[in-house]
């Protein structure tokens, strides 16, 4: 049965990459373990990834897309295995950046070879807390090592090497994906020609750390959590839904929520004088929380938000000095913030742009007007798309 949302390009549309199937590759095994930033190592790492378009003869057209907290490797097109892989939501919607990536689209798969991999610890095919620990034969749960943005980038490097790519035409991402893009330009300055950082800064603010802490608190105090060993029973869906509801508010803006919901009641003109779902905004968040809990693993949520907390580009590469860190960067960089984003605010994003200016790197920084808050990088494709397309086509500052 076809329950596809008609707002999206259908699989047979010339603007869609069509039906796609994710691929998996083992990138770490017994004799080649993956050593993490924390010092621990994983003996087995498998990565799920998708690619669109073709790598050209000199492998110079590769674009790495980095996904955000709740994202996955499924950037564009329609998942041919949505039902078999028990990802039914993918039957209704294409990949998370389908409006941006495809034939003739802003990241044009007729020109570029686009790669995206699911990050280590996420729950969409890459090794994660739900994976079986080879030592015990049981899911890792909280015995899974803490992973970082740096680890993700190192693992992505293994992946592109496996794919025969030496250097990236562009690395691009929004939010936590933007931090990966930045980390790429810092960790592999000679391998990145262009870096696009959307709605992301070199580190999360104290306010952002606080939101993540509350989200994890809800999960870890859900009675079903049982120290992360819930894989035999019911998952901590209530805690995960609450975490998502809170986080979702941080992805919107005050203006955006007012525009979308206002103070409207859900079903009548009069209050019911009770604690059921009264306001439309409550109904919306309730739906967002429940549907997220159905498709996401609570342990993965803990690990990924922790990686987001720990990331600090200045601490990692500049001994606390962002300027010293940015001096490493050789890529031409574009930083884009959104006017109502209060998770990675325009000021925080601008600071990254300004620091790149100060160290003499070619940088483009823009603050786009949008009511969509942090989510704007996924929503404002009409405004963002042409900028990305033009930046990809430019030769500014790119190492030749």
């Amino acid at each position: 049965m076809n329950d596809r949302d008609p707002r999206y390009d259908a699989p047979d549309s010339p603007r869609s990459v069509g039906w796609v199937e994710a691929q998996r590759v083992v990138l770490a095994s017994g004799d080649n373990p993956f050593v993490l930033e924390s010092g621990t190592s994983l003996a087995e790492v498998e990565v799920e990834y998708e690619t669109y378009g073709s790598l050209n003869a000199d492998a110079s057209n590769a674009i790495l897309v980095c996904h955000a907290l709740s994202g996955d490797a499924h950037v564009a097109g329609w998942d041919a295995r949505a039902e078999q892989d028990e990802r039914p939501w993918r039957s209704r919607k294409p990949g998370w950046w389908d409006a941006m990536v495809g034939p003739g689209k802003f990241i044009d798969t007729d020109c570029y070879f686009v790669v995206c991999s699911n990050v280590l610890g996420s729950c969409y095919g890459t090794t994660a807390p739900a994976s079986l620990d080879p030592d015990t034969g049981k899911p890792y749960g909280l015995r899974f090592p803490v992973v970082t943005v740096e680890d993700w980038v190192q693992l992505q490097h293994r992946l592109i090497t496996h794919l025969g790519i030496e250097r990236l035409h562009t690395v691009i991402g929004g939010s936590l994906g933007g931090q990966q893009a930045l980390e790429w330009a810092l960790a592999f300055p000679n391998l990145v020609d262009r870096c696009v950082v959307l709605a992301a800064s070199p580190r999360l603010s104290a306010q952002g750390l606080g939101f993540n802490a509350v989200g994890r608190h809800g999960i870890m105090n859900d009675p079903a959590f049982v120290e992360g060993d819930y894989y035999d029973g019911e998952p901590p869906a209530i805690g995960l839904a609450a975490a998502r509801m809170l986080a979702h508010i941080t992805y919107l803006s005050e203006q955006g929520m007012d525009n979308k919901f206002g103070r409207r009641l859900r079903s009548s003109d009069k209050p019911a004088f009770g604690f059921g779902i009264e306001f439309e905004v409550e109904s919306y968040l309730d739906y967002q929380g429940r549907s997220f809990a159905e498709r996401f693993d609570a342990n993965s949520y803990l690990y990924i938000t922790r990686a987001m907390d720990y990331y600090d580009a200045a601490a990692r590469w500049g001994d606390g000095d962002l300027g010293a860190a940015c001096r490493r960067i050789k890529a031409a960089t574009m930083v884009v913030s959104f006017s109502t984003d209060w998770l990675y605010t325009p000021d925080q994003c601008r600071e990254l742009g300004a620091t790149l200016l100060r160290v003499g790197a070619p940088v483009t920084y823009l603050n786009l007007p949008s009511p969509y808050g942090h989510d704007a990088f996924l929503v404002e494709i009409d405004m963002l798309g042409p900028l990305v397309r033009d930046f990809l086509a430019s030769d500014q500052g790119a190492e030749s």
Binding site: G353, R358, P362, T364, N367, D390, A393, S394
Partner: protein, 247 residues
């Protein structure tokens, strides 16, 4: 450059006034107005419309800057100058506040930082550029004094261009009409003009003198011709381009 012979300028202005008023209508109130309006538009066309479409300044700048220089363009518009400098300059950077113009810079492939020049340039270190350009922007700034000092802090050399409100037609227009000059080159009415700090070439020279700023070189657009500054240009130049530095 020293043209501050004000009495000579006044003599010349008087003769221009005689020349450009139809003798038959001199005693007749309305004729003075009509003659000036026609004359203003006629000469204006020779110098082309004001703004980013006819950038004689770009040619002068591209020719003047040394290869490999670091160039910062404040209020860079759509990035036209920066594009012309590709391949010649060592480092290019634009600053522009308007979103559409910033997008146009991205389309041209020039790096641009979206910021309001008037709000300060703290992002830039001292002496971090060889040239800092302020093309046709000075008169539209809220804080021109601060921005001029900032550009000379950031750059070794400042390149400034602006329309010269001391041009004789503008002066006569105001004298004759008693209204703010409106022409092809300066098409705005007083209530919608972006030009909020009108200045003349002489004003700018006085500012440089008062602020210990040296003018190394000056080019003017006068009667449709781009040429080095000459005496009397406060009366004849419709646009000026100056290379300045700290003394």
């Amino acid at each position: 450059m020293n043209d501050d012979n004000h009495s000579q300028e006044l003599d010349e202005l008087a003769s221009l006034l005689r020349d450009h008023v139809d003798p038959d209508l001199q005693m007749h109130g309305g004729g003075l107005f009509a003659t000036f309006v026609n004359e203003l538009h006629h000469v204006d066309d020779k110098d082309g419309p004001l703004g980013r479409t006819s950038r004689w300044q770009d040619d002068v700048i591209v020719e003047a800057i040394a290869s490999g220089s670091r160039v910062l363009d404040l209020g860079c518009g759509t990035g036209e100058l920066l594009e012309h400098l590709k391949g010649k300059a060592g480092r290019l950077q634009g600053v522009e506040v308007d979103h559409d113009q910033v997008a146009a810079c991205v389309a041209r492939g020039v790096p641009v930082f979206q910021a309001d020049v008037d709000a300060g340039l703290r992002e830039f270190d001292d002496d971090s550029f060889d040239y800092v350009v302020l093309e046709e922007t000075l008169q539209a700034l809220r804080h021109p004094h601060d921005v001029l000092h900032e550009m000379l802090r950031i750059g070794r050399c400042g390149i400034v261009s602006f329309p010269n409100f001391g041009h004789w037609r503008i002066r006569l227009y105001l004298a004759a009409h008693g209204r703010m000059p409106v022409s092809h080159r300066l098409p705005h009415q007083w209530f919608d003009t972006p030009n909020i700090h009108h200045l003349t070439l002489r004003d700018f020279k006085a500012w440089c003198n008062d602020n210990a700023v040296i003018i190394d070189r000056a080019m003017v657009l006068a009667d449709g011709v781009v040429r080095p500054f000459a005496e009397g240009d406060n009366l004849h130049a419709s646009e000026v381009l100056l290379f300045i530095r700290r003394s």
